[in-house]
Amino acid sequence: MPGAIYAEGLVKTFGDVRALDGVDLDVPEGTVLGLLGPNGAGKTTAVRCLTTLLTPDSGKATVAGIDVLKHPNEVRRSIGLSGQFAAVDEYLTGRENLQMVGQLYQMKAKEAKERAGELLDRFNLADAADRPSKTYSGGMRRRLDLAAALVVSPPVMFMDEPTTGLDPRNRQGLWEVIQELVAGGTTLLLTTQYLEEADHLAHDICVVDHGRVIARGTSDQLKARTGGERVEVVVHDRGHIATASEVLRGFGKGEVAVAEHTRKMTVPVTGGAKLLAEVIRELDARGIEIDDIGLRRPTLDDVFISLTGHAAELPDAGADAEAEAGADAGPHADAGPHAGPGSGADTGSQRKKEADK
């Protein structure tokens, strides 16, 4: 059974630009999908297609089991949207904005008013509730827009970069709101530039670039795909680089990447902290003075850069990854199958990038 958000082969072109070039998505009910990708990747376009604001050129999509193209108005009843740019009326107060949205979701005036009050409290806007939203700061406006998306707590939510422009406290607050919603059964599609956010909130992650899904899986699967843990060493003396590299080669599971000017070496390892201790002892025994040493696990940032950087260098790479994804049972097959030759290449390019630093 398809999930609460389902898309198959979505294509949308704007003139020469293929903003979406055959995107498949499947978000099971009650989960969060994080859509990641560089600027212009097609995230917003995907959100707009799924929320009935744009008609895709081809492909199909259902939201909450309803066909987006055939029954857009029924879909609108089941979704809440917070777009990339806050869409609130500047001359209306925060309260009036939320009340209006509530009434347009067909709430009674009184209900809409109560709900507006609740949401203003929840998003720390109570103090500014009766000022025109023109006087709000960017982050306040953003929060008002998010509140508008939550007016009826619809079963399916779309948030396009919801925390862009929020200060850390309000970002944390929004994360809590999102977690509560999801615990209550809401399905969420979230786009973000903050990989930490996807890591924290999303059950599954899709990385898109040039309108295609170039990788998908859980955050751990994607990290594993980029390569396991590595030991990173910065030696004090440039003259020690050669010896240190030799030591690392002995412990490592692959090539040692060397950045001459920063005196930094990186090598993939298995064995964790115990191995790190051995490396330190050995370097010490050889009298190599070290400025910094550590065990590094890949972050989603590494994943992001390795995946999208790779695609930019080799235009074909995206197509390969997509072909592999197509061979998978479906959009939800894990990232395992990708960990073949493609993943080795990714890790290689990652290392090369680091070496270039």
Binding site: N73, Y91, M100, Q103, Y105, E114, D121, V152
Partner: protein
Amino acid sequence: MSTSTATDAAVKAGPRPAGGIRQSVRDSLVVAKRNLIRMVRIPEVVLFGLIQPVMFVILFTYVFGGSIQVGGSLSSQDYRNFLMAGIFAQTVTFATAGAGAGIADDMHKGLIDRFRSLPMARGAVLTGRTIADLAQTALTLVVLAGVALLLGWRTHENFGKILAGFGLLLLLGYAFSWIGALIGLSVRTPEAATSGGLIWLFPLTFISNAFVDSNKLPTFFRHIAEWNPFSTTVQACRELFGNLPPGFKTPDAWPMQHPVLASVLWSVLILLVFRTLAVRKYRSAAA
């Protein structure tokens, strides 16, 4: 605040099924209220909307007043009475540029996206906007009529007919505001909507009987002027206000002979055609 309250509210609020006409009316009024609040908070817009026609009345009566012959009369009192229906009609017509600019502005700011993602009646965003504009136009007409009376404008028919005349003016303005709405949805910026919304108004209002006796126009323009929906309403108002100058020869064109009926027909036709087009455009508009 906890999730349970949110969920409860959602269940209580539970999006109701669409209620056809009732929902359309309700949604339109919600949007109209929003636009009226904006007018109150940005009074400059309403104020400038008032100053312009008042200026026109003063300029036309005092600058051209004595030099334009209408019917067989060169009297400035006769011209003043003759002119006023033209100025009223021009006022309701020029007010339509605002609808387009407002809608283009909403698109630009992403508000139309917000509305389009809500389960609201299809035409309600545009209907709400045009209704709010209609209210503003009505207010402008009241003030303008007051100024006109002060400057010596006089009617010679009963109150019912005068009200009917203003009714026709508002109907014409409402119909034209849908043309403005369509322009606003078709252009990319609010600036383009303002100029695009004004351009067509000049030929419309000047190739007409608004400021001169159409009998005196060159034949080609005379025909256009006499079939122009704008002229039709002006002629209807002159009849209803008793403002046709002595010795005025009513042109033979059908709309001039039956101006009240022709004015209603024109306005309803324009309203239906442009409302349909604008609503269709709204549904496919991409900001």
